[in-house]
Each structure stands twice: as structure tokens, then as C-alpha cells.
Amino acid sequence: MTLTATPVPTGRQVRRYTAARARRRGGASIGSLLVDVYTVLITTAVGVGLAIGLVDGVREVLPPDTGGRAAGPEVSLPTLGALVVLALVGTVVSLAGRLGPVGVGGAEATWWLTLPVGRRALLRPAAVRLPLAAGAVGAVVLPVLDLAVHEAGRPAPERVLAVAAAGALGAAALVLAAGVGQTFGASRRRIAAAGDVLVALAPALAVGAAVTGVSLPPAPTPDAGVLAGLGVVVVAASVALDRRLDRIPARALRESGSVAGQAVGAVVSLDSRELGRALGEGIPARRRRRSARLRPVRSAAAALVTADALLLLRSGRHLAQLAGAACVPAAVLSVPHLRTPVVVLPALLAAGYVATLATAEGARRAEMAPVVDRLLPIGARRVRWLRMVVPGVAIALWSVPAFTPLVLLGAQVPEWVVLGLLAAPVWAGAAVRAAYRPAPDWGGPLVSTPAGALPIGAASVLSRGPDVVVLGLVPVLVAVALGTVVPGVLVAQALVSALVAAVCAHVPDAA
């Protein structure tokens, strides 16, 4: 059998052949394409407008920054802004690592990667996609953030444009750099870990800055030199990535493509649990550990709780998520300008919910594959009670560093800590409620909103979890708003917590 020199098409020709055949049956017309583009642009514009309006509204109700007015450690607004940028950088790098950034999945992996054609042309669209998306997000997020932390009124249009350009170029450069690292064999795990470290550093640095009194000056408007420098970096990284695309092994491309496909599917179907699984489990983990002796396990209930606890304790990502979220209230409260319930409340709720999500992996996995649940002789309702134990304990521990800084609003540390401990069952209940929520219901009616059609059925499912956080923490919200913790609030929180936990342990008949 001979196989010597054989003429084969180029990668671009293979791509075009596939696209041309797909177009013949796709049924998409230029009109529908234009409608799609129009919808995306309008939806994005409305979203950006809403974000700017929200930031503007918050700015208007913020107290003036009188400087040196507040007691306790302080972080300047520009310093906080810089640390948020650091967290955003980490997020971009982490996502780039988790998603590849260059990947090929599904049919393309099976039918393209085995061809003896140049892979550069085959992979070019996949390599461009993520930097472009990151650039678009950066161009929106950074100006909005700049608006939020800009001290002297609204920034000038030139500054907005310059910051948007810097955001776009910076985000694209980060993803391209991660791609170049991928071509040199840097594992997705390492790239993602580097990003995670930056994210975790941000709140820790905020606390450090508050303690040490380090304060950064306001960020200057990016000048032409800075933008040109970023542009050069983007071009250089693009060229480097393009030239080395064919050095990425098929196994890496397949892994990345698989994760990206799963993540995109989760986003399209608004399934945050699936998104978490795609981004969290797409990174290969350590395959072996020393087995625990599980001495405390003397009953089925103990087995369930121990399984959840081990899952949390063995997940560095979730522990880091807990620690990082615990620093957020302190970081916000250390900025005198933000020391108002309008900012502190959302920050506390968001940080608490992020921390809560980190503690409920056991419940989420059980909802997907109830292997342990079915092995153990425990009723469904009791299972849900037991699934609240680990989130409850973890959040109770989290509440100590998270609620202590609220003393800057008034009252005493023990009072806030007690309030935080009493509120822990609400978070735990929300975690279990969110974990056991059913799949989004896409069969319900659509409601037209300025940002596009909203599927009511899916939205109501997705709100399971956050809904009880908002309702169950009303006493906490009252205390933060008043800047004091009265005994009545503590009693009310205890009662509401018990009620919420009971509601969240309820198992619908259909379940």
C-alpha cells in the first residue's frame, strides 16, 4: 500500500466547504441575519443604558466624600476601583483558561482535526472568537466601572471613549496572551488558577489597603500612547497566536471545545448550575487523594453530611470563593464614600449569595445524580434538611468576618455577629432551594421588555434561591438600613430563618 505526496485542500477550503453546505440547508436569509444583529445591538444598548442609569442613580444618593470623616480603616474610591479592575483581569484570565481559550468541539473536532490540512486556517475563527467577545465586554464594563468610581462628576466623553478602548484592548490582550500560553503547552488548569489567584487577591488587597492606609491616586485618562501600546500588544499577541495555532494538540483543542460548548449551551438555556459545572469541572482535577477514615459516620444522616463536608473541604475553588466573598463587605465598608446602605446592602447580599453557592455543591450534584441520596434510607424532606447543614455551618463561619465590618454603620460587633449567625439558615435554605430547583420551564408565556422577550417560566425557576435571600433577610436589611441592631430585629431574624428553612426543606409532590 502506498501513500506518498497527496494534494489536499487548504484549511480555509475545508472550512468554506462545510459552511457552504450548511448554508444551503440552514434556511437563514440575510434578512434574518440582520434582524439577529439588530436584536443583539439593541439588547446590548439597552443593557448598557440600564447599567449606566443604575450607576448614575446610586452615585446621586451617595454621600459626598468629605475625606477623613469616617472612623475606622479606609480605602479610597480610586483604590477600590483599581482592585475591581484587578478582579476583572483575574476573571478574564480565569475564564480564558477554563474555555481554552482556543478550542474545537463536537463535529469540528471529529471531522476536521483528523484531516491532514493546515490547522491554522481551520482554527483561526475559533481563536478570534473569545478575544473579540472579551474585547466587547471590556469596552462596556470598564467605562461603567469608571463612571462608578469617578470622583468628580460624570467623566468627559473623551475619557469614556478612551477607557472603553483601553478596556477592549486590555481584555482582548489578556485572552490572546492566554492563547499564546496555550500554544506553548500551558495547561488550562494553570491559566485558570492564575486568574483565580488575581480574583482572590483583590478583596484581600482591599482589606490590606484599608489596614495599611495605602491609597492610589485617581486613574488618569488613558492617553494615545497607552492605547497605542495596548494596540501593539494585541497585534503582537494575535500574530504570535496565529503563527502557533497548529502547535496546539488535538486533545487540548477537544477539551477546550467541549467545555466551551457546554458553557455556551448553559448560557443559552439560562442554566447556571450547568454553567458552573462546565467551568468548574472542565478543568482536570487531581485524580487521587488519601481516603478519609470517616470515623464520624455512624448513621445515614452523618454519611450525607460528611459527604457534603468533604466535598467542600476538598474544593479549593469553593473555599477561595468563600474567603473572597467574606472580604467583600469589609472592602466596601472601608470606602467612606460607599459606606451607605444603598451600596452596603447589595454588596452584602451579593457576597453572601456567592458564598452560599460555594457551599452547596453536594446538593447540586445530588439534584443532577442522586446517587448517595438513593443509597441511604432517608426521606426526601430529611435529605433537604441535612443538605442545609454544611451550607449553614459554612455560612455561619463566613458571617463572622462578613458581618463584623458592619460595625462601621453603628451598633456593636457582637450584635452584628449574632445577627449574621441567626441569618445563616436563610442562606443555607437558599442554597438548597437553588440546588434543587427544576429545569427552566420554556413553555410559559413571553413578556416583552425593553431588553427583549423575557420567558416568565424560566425566570421564575431561576429566581428560586435568590428569592428567599431577599425575603428572608429583611431583618438584616432593616438593621443595615438603620445602622443598628435592636433586639426585635434579632428575634424577627430568628423567626424568619426558621420559617425559610422549613419552606426550603419542603419537597413538592412531583419531586
Binding site: 506518498t4 485542500p9 453546505r21 450548511a22 440552514g26 463536537g106 493546515g118 502547535r247 482535577a285
Partner: protein
């Protein structure tokens, strides 16, 4: 029969910046086996999944990997195809270390694993034409028509793979393995989801493959397919992976626990 391809290469073949035309030939030394594995250790995350594997696969022969489910057969095949980096040992394919990033490797090594992914808007025939043309087969349509007939897919040539049964999709994947030139054909449990008639036809096709000088490496649980095709076998196991002759391998398969 393996698809023979002409050796005359036109000089105006388009390229997209790199060498899109596989030139030369891997493993030019005639004494080189097509696959040489010496104490090959494979696994995931640095953890081996089976004992080290040692075998030579000369041209014109077929070697079967046998062993119960989870023993590591597919992992060995993935390493041979360059989809997994060996943890240790030597693995040479066509005289060189495995690097599927090389055009020549992909031109000469065909693999049919358990992938089940298809372009949603490409028909069955178009998937095969894409494969054949992508490998520079001159009469791609003619080769594809013949394969569709042989694999019982002629009546489904113009349908989308999503409408096929799992057995038909399996046959499409197998047909793709034969729609292109190759010196080594790697198959992971090709008998899966095939009826007895198609298994017999596959066995005949693989015998023809080796008779024409091609090498076949397959993992299988089918003693009849093994007996009809293989010249030797490796029993992939946790503690050791011995080389067996065909009767021993057939007995090993029959001794596997029920699946």
C-alpha cells in the same frame, strides 16, 4: 481495500501559510514496525490505567487489544492516535514518536473511536466527501458512493446524520475511516452496534486491509471478529499486559465477565 492515491502532486496546490500538502512518508525504513510500543504506560493525570504494554505491529498485520471494560484498551488506542500523552515508555508510530500535529501523521493514521458528533447541516454523503477530499482522494464522490453501498447507507446518503439510528451512525463513522488513505487503521470496538452481517463484512474488509499491506490495531470484545482479523493480541490488564496468540485471546474474551 485501502484507498490508493496517485503519487503525482500538482505544483499549484493551494496552501494557507503552512505546508498543506503532506510530502514524504513516515517510517521510511522498511524494518520499522508500523507501531512499536515498549513498556508503554498510559493514563490520565499521571495515573496509569493499566500495566505497561509492549508490542510491535508490522505492516500487513492486525493486532487486537482485549480485556474487560475499563482495562485501558481505549486509552492505549488514544495514545497511539496522539490524543493522549503516554505517561512512560516508548511509543513509535511509523518509525517516529507520535505527534498528531504533523500533517503526515494525520495523513497516514486513521482512527475510528466512539465519537458521535456530526455537522447538523451536512448529509451523510457530505461527511464522507469532506473526509475523502480533505485527504486528497482524487475521485472522492466515487469512493464515497462505493462506501455508502458497502456500509448499507446508500439509502441514507442525502439525510442528516441526526436522523440515523445509532447503528447507522456507527457505520458512517466506520465508512469515514475507510474513505481516506492510510497505513495504520485504529479501531475502538468497531463491532459495537453492528449486526452480524455487517460484522462479517467488516471482518472481510479488515482482512483485505492487511492483505494490501495496511496495519490494523483494534480493541474488541468480539471473539469472531478477533479470530477473523487479528494475527495476535494483547491482553490489557491491571497487573500485566501479555501478548497472546489468537486462540488464547479468544478464550480471554470468552472469560470476560458479562457486560
Amino acid at each position: 481495500m485501502p484507498t490508493d492515491v496517485p503519487t503525482d502532486v500538482p505544483t499549484d496546490v493551494p496552501t494557507d501559510g503552512l505546508t498543506d500538502v503532506p510530502t514524504g512518508r513516515l517510517g521510511d525504513r522498511p524494518t520499522d514496525p508500523v507501531v512499536r510500543a515498549d513498556s508503554l504506560l498510559v493514563g490520565y493525570g499521571g495515573e496509569p490505567v493499566c500495566a505497561p504494554v509492549t508490542f510491535d505491529l508490522p505492516a500487513g498485520t492486525a493486532l487486537a487489544l482485549v480485556g474487560p471494560n475499563g482495562s485501558g484498551k481505549s486509552t492505549v488506542l488514544r495514545a497511539v492516535l496522539g490524543l493522549l500523552t503516554p505517561a512512560d515508555g516508548v511509543l513509535h508510530v511509523l518509525g517516529r514518536e507520535v505527534d498528531e500535529r504533523e500533517h503526515l501523521f494525520r495523513a497516514e493514521v486513521a482512527g475510528v473511536l466512539d465519537d458521535d458528533a456530526y455537522f447538523p447541516a451536512l448529509t451523510v454523503a457530505e461527511h464522507l466527501v469532506l473526509t475523502a477530499r480533505g485527504h486528497g482522494v482524487p475521485d472522492a464522490e466515487g469512493v464515497v458512493d462505493e462506501l455508502l453501498e458497502d456500509f448499507g447507507l446508500a439509502g441514507h446518503a442525502d439525510v442528516l446524520p441526526v436522523t440515523l439510528s445509532s447503528g447507522q451512525r456507527r457505520r458512517l463513522l466506520l465508512a469515514a475511516g475507510f474513505a481516506r488513505p492510510r497505513r495504520l487503521l485504529v479501531l475502538d470496538e468497531p463491532e459495537q452496534r453492528l449486526d452480524q452481517r455487517m460484522r462479517s463484512a467488516l471482518a472481510a474488509r479488515l482482512r483485505a486491509e492487511t492483505a494490501a499491506g495496511g496495519a490494523v490495531l483494534l480493541a474488541t470484545h468480539d471473539p469472531a471478529l478477533l479470530a477473523a482479523v487479528a494475527d495476535a493480541a494483547v491482553l490489557v490488564g491491571e497487573d500485566e499486559s501479555p501478548v497472546l496468540d489468537v486462540p488464547e485471546a479468544v478464550r480471554a474474551i470468552r472469560a470476560e465477565p458479562p457486560r
